[in-house]
């Protein structure tokens, strides 16, 4: 089983099953962790903002211009900020670590 490690806003770590083919946002949401994802995953809001662990940054496809534009509406954006709806999960990402960004 491929998994994702999600740190919530209180600092607690959750190891959850990652379904290949789903987006990281969908995996987080379906595991009842608090990700708003107001637009439903079409890169039209910034409410699925996560920080990607440094060790994993290079293993992800780079963010699109559209994603970078939407991050303007997020809070406390960092170099490792991503919108989790724009990260497709795959077996190769087994162990991916992300942290839920503060809500805005």
């Amino acid at each position: 089983m491929a998994s994702i490690v999600v740190t919530d806003r209180e600092g607690a770590e959750h190891v959850i099953e990652g379904t290949p083919g789903w987006s990281v946002m969908e995996i987080i949401r379906e595991n009842d962790l608090p990700v708003e994802a107001a637009c439903g995953g079409c890169c039209a809001c910034a409410t699925c903002h996560v920080y990607v662990d440094a060790a994993w940054l290079d293993k992800l496809e780079a963010a699109s211009d559209e994603e970078d534009r939407m991050l303007d509406e997020a809070y406390q954006v960092q170099e490792n900020s991503r919108l989790s709806c724009q990260i497709p999960f795959a077996e190769a990402l087994d162990g991916l670590k992300v942290t839920l960004a503060p809500e805005f």
Partner: protein, 352 residues
Amino acid sequence: MSEQPVRTHPPAGEPSRTDMVIIGAGPVGLFAVFEAGLLNMQCELVDNLDKIGGQCAELYPDKPIYDIPAVPRCTGEQLTELLLEQIKPFAPRFHLNQQAERLERLADGRWRLTTSEGLVLEAPVVVIAAGAGSFVPRRLPLAGAEEREGHSLFYAVRRMEEFRGKDILVAGGGDSALDWTLNLQPVANSMALVHRRRDFRAAPDSVARMEELVAGGLMDLHIGQIAELHGPGRRLDGVTLKSPEGEALVPCDTLLAFYGLKMELGPLAGWGLELEDSLIKVDTATFETNLPGVFAIGDIITYPGKLKLILSGFHESALMCQKAFKYCFPEKKLIFRYTTSSTDLQKKLGVA
């Protein structure tokens, strides 16, 4: 979006009386106007956005939608336009730029809705088609932000005169941020813009004009994010900006923050509606809530099997109108007819 208030009908002293008040002018609220119109019910709609279309207009006007029955592909904006064309015969009234604030039951059983602009609407039927809630500005989640709001921190501009002679810092990279930077620069004592990166999503022409002002020494541009507010009480004398290069203190007495809009349930959470996980519970035979004469349709409702799809909201609006009719015309018999064959319905649509 622009901050200019657009009011199709200014608030008057007298309440406006209609058959159905619809909260939310998104696709589902718009289609409810059609279904209501076929049954002779007149509608007035309230929406906190400055435009019609709800999430289709605000979140994804240019994104394609593929799951509207018989419309293989359209954008959020096109769907809104098509719905507006479809409901045109029923001449609904729109009250934009205002939030549905208070709902009271009148002695005769009808409902009175008051908006944030003081507009009063009265009707036997209220329909909540509010999607994920109303769009409100994203507020800075910083210490001291709340008490400064309306004094030295603003999320919208109502009157430009308020900002004359101020040392203004505008935050954001979209059209609102750039437009207000350009509009307020001539009246401000000093003007600065802060954005988290060098690229702006605002119109290139506005960005070019801003850059000219910066090059001419008429305003400053900072790259970074606001980390701290400074100043006693409600006053502001500067902010700390954080960037990969480090921290910087930028003096200012007025901060205008434009970080886009977010959706929240808002005042309707306190109306006595039965909720489950911030969604309204309804009877699926009628889409009536626990309050008699108050209905709810679309993304804001929950019931076993509910799917948040626009098409589900369309279906819900048709069923809702059957029961709503009984509140509007208790003496009348309702006959079910098709637009294909009924001359009566075709007359209403202006085609017979």
